[in-house]
């Protein structure tokens, strides 16, 4: 009975979504306070119901109710309870319900943060109701998680894919979705702003808050996902330019542009049209990402078996949501056209450059990601776009961005950039010395450039902080900005150093064999069988020496998960003085030998440390009291 209740509650939520959209629209047209209250209450109930239905699904997973198809397909009684719960979003259906539940959380925040009778936001409520209805219809008709597997109840479930039996699975999807889905709020607010033709201060501030929070979590989600892929997939890579990864990067890039442009809108009351367009774009890209991941239209290393029919539905929703929004933008954007002029080296100028560069990056990643789809759609065959494409186009843009980033904190609104000759000369001297040193120790060009740019950014930030008056009174968003920018530097250095100085050895090894990388010696000491609750396998013992002294015993494993008969490499990673030593046991060869991956990756963790810093910076800026939205009570 309980799963049926979940299904029923979802149906109710869909009705309530329609009701709230209808009531909000009536309230807007007829200036009815009662209807506005009805819209508020029904939207609250709808959000609550969606979350309850996720609770019901989690309960079914917890109890391993095998009559429910998704439970049967993704759970097993031997799974520990926390993986039984997270198995709920290991399935497509559960993942979509999680998506909706997080949208419901966001919607609750929105409903509580804002005044229910705010005339402008009534439009947002109509839009939100419609978005909910469409997505609920998607879940109910194409991905119902509560479908029963009757009449024959299986004795045991098919188990969760072993790759997903990992702490990464508990956190990665919720974090990513908080980010992705959060862009729905700026989207519905932008629609209201465009409809009304005015962009009030409190709306701008609230928008800024939502954008920063969502973007910070998207950053965390992507960072965690990258780290997870690094240690779990056993290839030693951290980013593959895979369509599923790009799907999350696209809204991230648009969001990065958006959070910079909303600041200009907040502080200088310009860039309105551009900010609103980015709001539409960010949410459209989130939906596109959902489509790419959930439809399985692209061959990806991360996606799982899925159903193209669903892809059509999401694509339809994407069109239904974004095309009218873009049309509205085309009609109304003119109202926000302002005569503003600012010198090209003022802060506005640098932020404009930032936006252009982020959007160019987004467009090139988008092109590379959907190009295979276009070609296939035109019936021209199957193609794929290789990772070198993305590296070739993205790296130069990032370098330009980094160069401009150096100026940014020292620039001021409205006034051209003031050259400080002393700083320039001293930086130039440091640069010359560094290049000399780099030539001396034969540093690769890109690494040298990255180090120079890093110093460039950090020294500008430090000079700016040193010159700042009233440091104690500086708003949190000020520190957030510096921390996030340092995060960019940290990630950049991690990428440059780890990809140029990494050593990767894929070798065949028997017991007693040794591989030497720089000062490290890896000796395969022994192999022994192991057994876990739902897997059996082999564990290798590697004796690792550093400069002829024993350093560590590393124990990579190869596991065969019995319920699914699936093999998995459990990597062994050791962080030694900022260098990652990475061993993955890949496959047994003949004569007791094994194919082994031994990697040496200096500074690779900086990539993820930087990601965390960037997210932290965004959260600090989000926390800033200066931008707390003051409530404005306005009669309908």
């Amino acid at each position: 009975m309980i799963p049926e209740a979940g299904h029923f509650i979802l149906l109710l939520a869909a009705m309530l979504a329609l009701l709230s959209a209808g009531a909000a629209s009536y309230a807007y047209n007829k200036h009815s306070n009662v209807a506005a209250l009805l819209a508020q209450r029904s939207a609250l109930a709808m959000s609550g119901f969606v979350i309850v239905s996720l609770g019901i699904l989690l309960y079914s997973f917890y109890k391993v109710d095998l009559t429910v198809t998704t439970v049967y397909q993704h759970a097993h009684a031997t799974l520990p309870w926390y993986y039984r719960l997270t198995a709920a979003w290991g399935s497509h259906e559960g993942s979509m319900l999680l998506w909706l539940s997080i949208l419901s959380l966001w919607s609750l925040v929105f409903l509580i943060n804002t005044d229910y009778s705010n005339r402008l936001l009534l439009i947002s409520r109509v839009a939100l109701g419609i978005i909910f209805f469409g997505l609920l219809a998607f879940v109910i008709f194409t991905s119902n998680p509560f479908t029963r597997h009757l009449p024959v109840t299986p004795l045991q479930g098919l188990d969760l894919n072993p790759l997903l039996q990992d702490p990464g699975m508990i956190l990665h999807p919720p974090l990513l979705y908080i980010g992705y889905v959060g862009f729905a709020l700026p989207f519905v607010m932008a629609i209201a702003v465009l409809w009304q033709g005015e962009f009030p201060e409190d709306i701008k501030r609230l928008m800024r808050k939502y954008i920063l929070f969502a973007w910070a979590f998207l950053t965390l989600g992507i960072t965690l996902g990258s780290f997870w892929a690094y240690y779990e997939l056993g290839w030693g890579g951290w980013w593959f330019w895979d369509p599923v990864e790009n799907a999350s990067l696209l809204p991230w890039l648009a969001g990065a542009a958006l959070l910079h442009s909303i600041n200009v809108s907040n502080n200088r009351k310009i860039f309105y049209g551009w900010t609103l367009l980015l709001c539409i774009l960010a949410f459209a890209l989130s939906l596109l990402g959902t489509f790419l991941v959930r439809s399985g239209v692209l061959t990806s290393v991360h996606s799982f078996a899925n159903d193209p029919e669903r892809g059509m539905f999401i694509l339809l929703l994407l069109a239904l949501y974004t095309l009218p929004a873009l049309l509205l933008f085309a009609v109304r954007a003119g109202r926000f056209a302002q005569k503003s002029s600012f010198p090209s080296t003022s802060r506005e100028g640098f932020l404009l450059l930032n936006n252009i560069l982020f959007i160019v990056m987004m467009a090139t990643v988008l092109l590379g990601t959907v190009y295979p789809l276009l070609i296939e759609g035109l019936g021209l065959g199957f193609i794929s776009v290789g990772a070198p494409y993305f590296n070739t186009v993205i790296v130069p843009i990032v370098l330009i961005l980094a160069f401009a980033l150096g100026f940014a904190p020292l620039s001021t609104w409205l006034k051209p950039y003031k050259k400080n000759t002393k700083i320039m000369v001293s930086l130039l001297l440091v640069a010359v010395m560094l290049i000399g040193l780099a030539l001396l120790i034969n540093m690769p060009f890109l690494v040298t450039l990255t180090v120079l740019l890093s110093l460039w950014i950090v020294s500008h930030s430090l000079i700016e902080i040193a010159n700042k008056k009233n440091k104690a009174k500086a708003p949190l968003s000020y520190w957030g900005m510096h921390i996030a920018h340092v995060g960019v530097v940290v990630t950049m250095l991690g990428v440059a150093v780890s990809s140029h100085y990494k050593v990767e050895r894929d070798v065949s090894m028997g017991v007693g064999d040794t591989v030497t990388i720089h000062d490290y010696r890896f000796t395969l000491a022994s192999l022994q069988p192991i057994k876990g609750p739902n897997y059996a396998g082999e564990q290798a013992l590697f004796d690792v020496q550093y400069k002829d002294k024993a350093l560590a015993l590393m124990k990579p494993e190869k596991r065969l998960y019995s319920p699914r008969d699936m093999a998995l490499s459990q990597t062994a990673i050791k962080d030694h003085r900022g260098r990652d030593l990475y061993i993955a046991l890949s496959e047994p060869l003949d004569n007791g030998r094994w194919a082994v991956r031994i990697h040496y990756k200096p500074m690779v963790r900086w990539i993820w440390y930087g990601g965390v810093l960037i997210a932290l910076g965004a959260l600090l800026a989000w926390f800033d009291k200066k931008y707390l939205a003051r409530r404005r009570y306005e009669k309908v």
């Binding site: 894919n161 078996a305 590379g368 065959g381 794929s384 186009v393 496959e587």
Partner: protein, 145 residues
């Protein structure tokens, strides 16, 4: 005649157009160099695929065809689409999900004997998964014959 302001605007517009044209050209160039076309074993057997150019080929790993060579990681196996088989050689570590009877996609270059020298072998996370290209091309062939 244009006044000074119009002239400036004109220069800026021309500058923007030139810059974006350059960016687009570079991007398309990069894209063109890194596209891997997909071929089925039958298409390769019929010599429709270019040699010594990166391509992708998908199919089912023929049971019993996987052969290790020497003590290293060099491995050779056959891929089939039900009609034709093409030999793939690969020097590296196969993905966890690689096994006989599994649908995979290999990226690499054809040598002059129409053997694929693979640089990457892709099998999906999911044991019941069949790469979409493999499924569709196999379906199309069954319908033809």
């Amino acid at each position: 005649m244009m006044n000074a302001k119009q002239k400036k605007r004109c220069y800026i517009t021309v500058g923007i157009i030139l810059a974006s044209a350059a960016v687009v050209a570079l991007v398309l160039l990069a894209l063109n160099e890194n596209i891997h076309l997909y071929y089925t074993p039958t298409e390769i057997a019929q010599e429709q695929a270019p040699v010594n150019r990166p391509i992708r080929m998908g199919g089912i790993v023929v049971p019993g065809s996987v052969q290790r060579q020497g003590e290293g990681l060099l491995v050779a196996f056959d891929l089939t689409d039900g009609l034709n088989e093409i030999t793939v050689s690969y020097d590296g570590i196969l993905p966890d999900l690689f096994r006989e009877g599994q649908g995979i996609v290999a990226t690499g270059q054809l040598d002059n004997n129409y053997k694929l020298v693979a640089s990457q072998v892709l099998a999906k996370h999911d044991e019941s998964y069949m790469p979409k290209e493999v499924e569709q091309s196999m379906r199309a062939q069954y319908n033809d014959s």
